[in-house]
Amino acid sequence: MKQITKVLEGVGSVVQLLLQSLSYAGTLPRQGARFIEQCYMIGYTTLPIVAILSFFIGTVLALEAGYAMEGFGAKEFIGSLVGLSMARELGPMMTSVLLAGRVGSAITAELASMKVYQEIDALTTMNIPAAKILVLPRLAAVLVMMPVLIIIANIVGWFGGSVVARYVSSVGISPEAYFAALRHYTKFKDVMNGTAKAEVFGFVVVLVCCDIGLNTRGGPREIGASVTRGVVVSLILILVLDYFVTKLLM
């Protein structure tokens, strides 16, 4: 019973924060510098790890596909399998998981320490809402950067698959055949579909991590606890939302 109340409280607090931030949407043009800074934090710093991870997801997909399709003599379709799984599911999902670990934790830690060291209180006495200058720029930045990350993740992942297809003897199909199959079966709609998912996940991760950070109470130990909470809640939400968003977008 207590757990349920806690969850409902959390949902209420997140929704409230969202509405509050949105009510300042008009101030975004004046917050250009903050927005750019957050784009850099969210996009640029996550890019290398997203690229590396996507490359290896691509390679593993191609390897597994090669193994599975060998039996059917349908190796030419490896490209389509890698293309579709990367674009529709693994790209958005893994990028969001990385975002939760890398960006979500950083956001929670930063806002939690601002709360604990009374910087948020100082903002309150200055009548500068945290939702306006801390949350809104981050939400806007994640919406802009997520599609960029997803497109790069897809391209790198597809490329990773082609490398395996070409050079691993058990798979061994030419890049031309691989990309032909990929192009034929992976439609623009599938990429858009995946991007939409990633937008939802990224937005939720940033919003929830902001909320958990801002609601931290106590001292340094609680900052650590909040960071853990932020990441765990984000991961759970990504997995749960994945099903519903996928269903919705079908």
Partner: protein, 278 residues
């Protein structure tokens, strides 16, 4: 100066930077109690602060002074009783739109990710008071008053404790507050800087009719600048009066508090030296 004539002479605050006038503000604390769980920190505290008055709060460590200031700043919600600033509830954003209130936090509460300059410029920029040149002049002026203009481009983590305190006072000045709350403004400062702070508080009152509430352990600061002093002990306001009333008080708690006797022969100090305690 009697309280009535004080009120008459200080009915208008003048903005130190723009000269714009606004009404000096009053504070009313009525039956304020606050508990954190089982811990009762403030117990039925009541007092009024008149417009343009310097009201000093003294008391032992842990007596609830900072918590009291946080209530006046609207950062904590009373368990019972209420606090009003110029008749408004300070915890509402609408009230902060109407009354400019600044709090100098005991620990500074500077924005660690912003330079000293940006710490001060944040408020005028967000509230769009003036162009960047006007803001620069205002910020540098405030930093100069507290002799920290050299540190404008440094970050809070690069400052000493006393410098942080001064920057945080400068940040409050830039807000051009009608009500200024200080939590131990001189605790980390040398005597010369301490005197400067007294001058700042007095000048803001005399020239600009800023209402000030000062929490301090600094007896000389309290007795020189205060119009009235309240003593808080274990969450209760045990005395309220002019600095004169206070120094003449016969209440043993107040006498002991203002003139602590240091007795190094006291058994509790002896204990530290015995080996079993180490």
């Amino acid at each position: 100066m009697s309280a009535e004539s004080l009120e008459a002479s200080c009915s208008k605050t003048r903005n130190p930077f723009t000269g714009a006038e606004a009404d000096a503000v009053s504070v009313k604390v009525e039956g304020l109690s606050k508990s954190f769980g089982d811990l009762s920190v403030l117990k039925n505290v009541s007092f009024d602060v008149k417009p343009g008055e310097i009201f000093v709060i003294m008391g032992p460590s842990g007596s609830g002074k900072s918590v009291l200031l946080r209530h006046i700043a609207g950062l904590d919600i009373p368990t019972s009783g209420k606090v009003t600033v110029e008749g408004l509830d300070p915890s509402l954003a609408e009230s902060r739109d109407r009354v400019r209130l600044a709090l100098v936090f005991q620990a500074g509460a500077l924005f660690n990710s912003l330079s000293v300059y940006d710490n001060l410029a944040l408020y005028p920029r967000e509230h769009r008071s003036g162009d960047e040149n006007a803001i620069r002049a205002r910020v540098m002026h405030a930093l100069k008053i507290l002799s920290v203009e050299q540190s404008a481009q440094q970050f809070p983590s690069e400052l000493s404790g006393g410098m942080k305190k001064r920057v945080s006072i400068a940040r409050a000045l830039v807000m051009e507050p009608q009500l200024l709350l200080y939590d131990e403004p001189t605790s980390e400062l040398d005597p010369v800087m301490g005197a400067t702070i007294s001058e700042i508080i007095a000048t803001l009152k005399n020239e600009y009719s800023v209402t000030s509430i000062v929490v301090t352990h600094d007896r000389s600061l309290a007795l020189t600048i205060a119009n009235r002093v309240g003593i808080l002990m274990a969450g209760k306001l045990i005395s309220l009066g002019s600095p004169d009333d206070l120094t003449k008080s016969k209440d043993p708690r107040i006498v002991d508090f203002l003139n602590p006797k240091i007795d190094i022969e006291h058994p509790r100090f002896k204990k530290l030296e015995t080996k079993d305690n180490l």
